[in-house]
């Protein structure tokens, strides 16, 4: 079974069947196509099928739309700013009409992939929320840091109120820090409760 002849290939011929039915082909194109159909039974069968469908559709009874409905549609259309869609341009190779959906689908897939990748990266880069123990330890560390500033300023000879500072800020902070360190390091670890002499490293 020949899939092409000297003047027209089967793919091209099949793409031209619909324009032939619609009467959109030039005389020269129609002559080439008909010559191909005479030689190629497969394309001729396609042509016969398309022609049969066309004739059967034309044989269907035409239903008249009620005039009131038509009038209303025309009136609505006149008031709206609807722009009629451009008729798809046909190309000689017949493949152009099927490329738009392909490219649109590809573009949509790329867009979806990009968004998904962006969301994934954002999700992965989001830090793990700290646990209650970490917050408790951080609280002790923050108190310790502020108390340490107080200690340094006291040593610098500024407005000495050592007992108040030590009682209300330094010692509670040091106790909290020591408890947090003990909890996180385990029962075998022992942390002294004096700021500035905390063994090992805190957070890194």
């Amino acid at each position: 079974m020949p899939r092409w002849d000297e003047s027209l290939r089967c793919e091209e011929a099949l793409a031209l069947l619909e324009p032939l039915i619609d009467g959109e082909l030039s005389a020269a194109e129609e002559a080439r196509l008909r010559a191909h159909l005479e030689r190629c039974p497969a394309c001729a069968a396609e042509w016969k099928l398309a022609a049969d469908i066309r004739s059967e559709l034309r044989a269907l009874p035409e239903l008249d739309c009620p005039p009131a409905v038509l009038e209303r549609v025309f009136r609505e259309a006149a008031h709206s700013s609807v722009v009629p869609l451009a008729r798809p341009r046909r190309t000689n190779d017949g493949a152009g009409s099927s490329r738009r959906p392909f490219w649109a689908a590809l573009a949509a897939a790329v867009l979806v992939a990009l968004l998904a990748a962006g969301l994934l990266v954002q999700q992965l880069s989001r830090p793990r929320p700290p646990s209650a123990a970490e917050v408790e330890r951080a609280t002790a560390e923050a108190r310790f840091a502020l108390a340490y500033v107080g200690e340094v300023s006291r040593r610098a000879g500024l407005d000495l109120r050592d007992d108040v500072l030590r009682k209300h800020l330094v010692l509670p902070a040091a106790r909290g820090l020591s408890q947090s360190l003990q909890q996180s390091l385990g029962p075998e670890a022992q942390a002294p409760a004096v700021p500035g002499a905390v063994p090992g490293k805190g957070r890194s």
Binding site: A107, L111, L115, V149, V152, R155, S204
Partner: protein, 195 residues
Amino acid sequence: MMRTRALVFLIVFCAIGVGGARAATAEAPQKLEDQPGYVPLAELAIFSRQELTTEIDLEGPLLHLVGEATRNDDPEFSKLIGDLRAIRVQVAPTRGLDAAKVRAKMDETVRWLEAKGWHAIVRVKEKGEETYIYTREVHDQIVGLAVLSLEPGGDAAMVNIVGRLDVAQLGRLGRGLHLPQLDHAPSKDREKHPD
């Protein structure tokens, strides 16, 4: 023509996707290193990590959680912490340190602070003990506190508190932690409502 149009569609879609992703990441808060109150402790390298006995490095989200966790028990502390971006402390015992090297590093850090526009509120050098307290201000707003301390026979320490320090809070902090100089810190509020 069809290919060109499809290519244009593809480029537009990609641009929208990339733009959306960038917009999502652009909403992230400013990096800590870019904050004016940030002191690059690692870069200044006053201490090596092996020398440290205490190292505290608390940053934004964790500090906010600390603020939330202490809101009921200690509202003033919670408010103070809630506005901060970072609290960073490095403490090393002077006994194991090369004192000359640490003093040189502290001098270098002080020069760095002054070159970056930090303002000294305390500078004490007495009997081998050195203490420096600096603040960083932007538009009359304190946005950073740096404390350098060297106590012979005790500890050497560097503290950097990054974030907006409200002058009222800082005044309380100053009184509570005995920094009367902080009471004279400039404030927009004070300019607007002079007492």
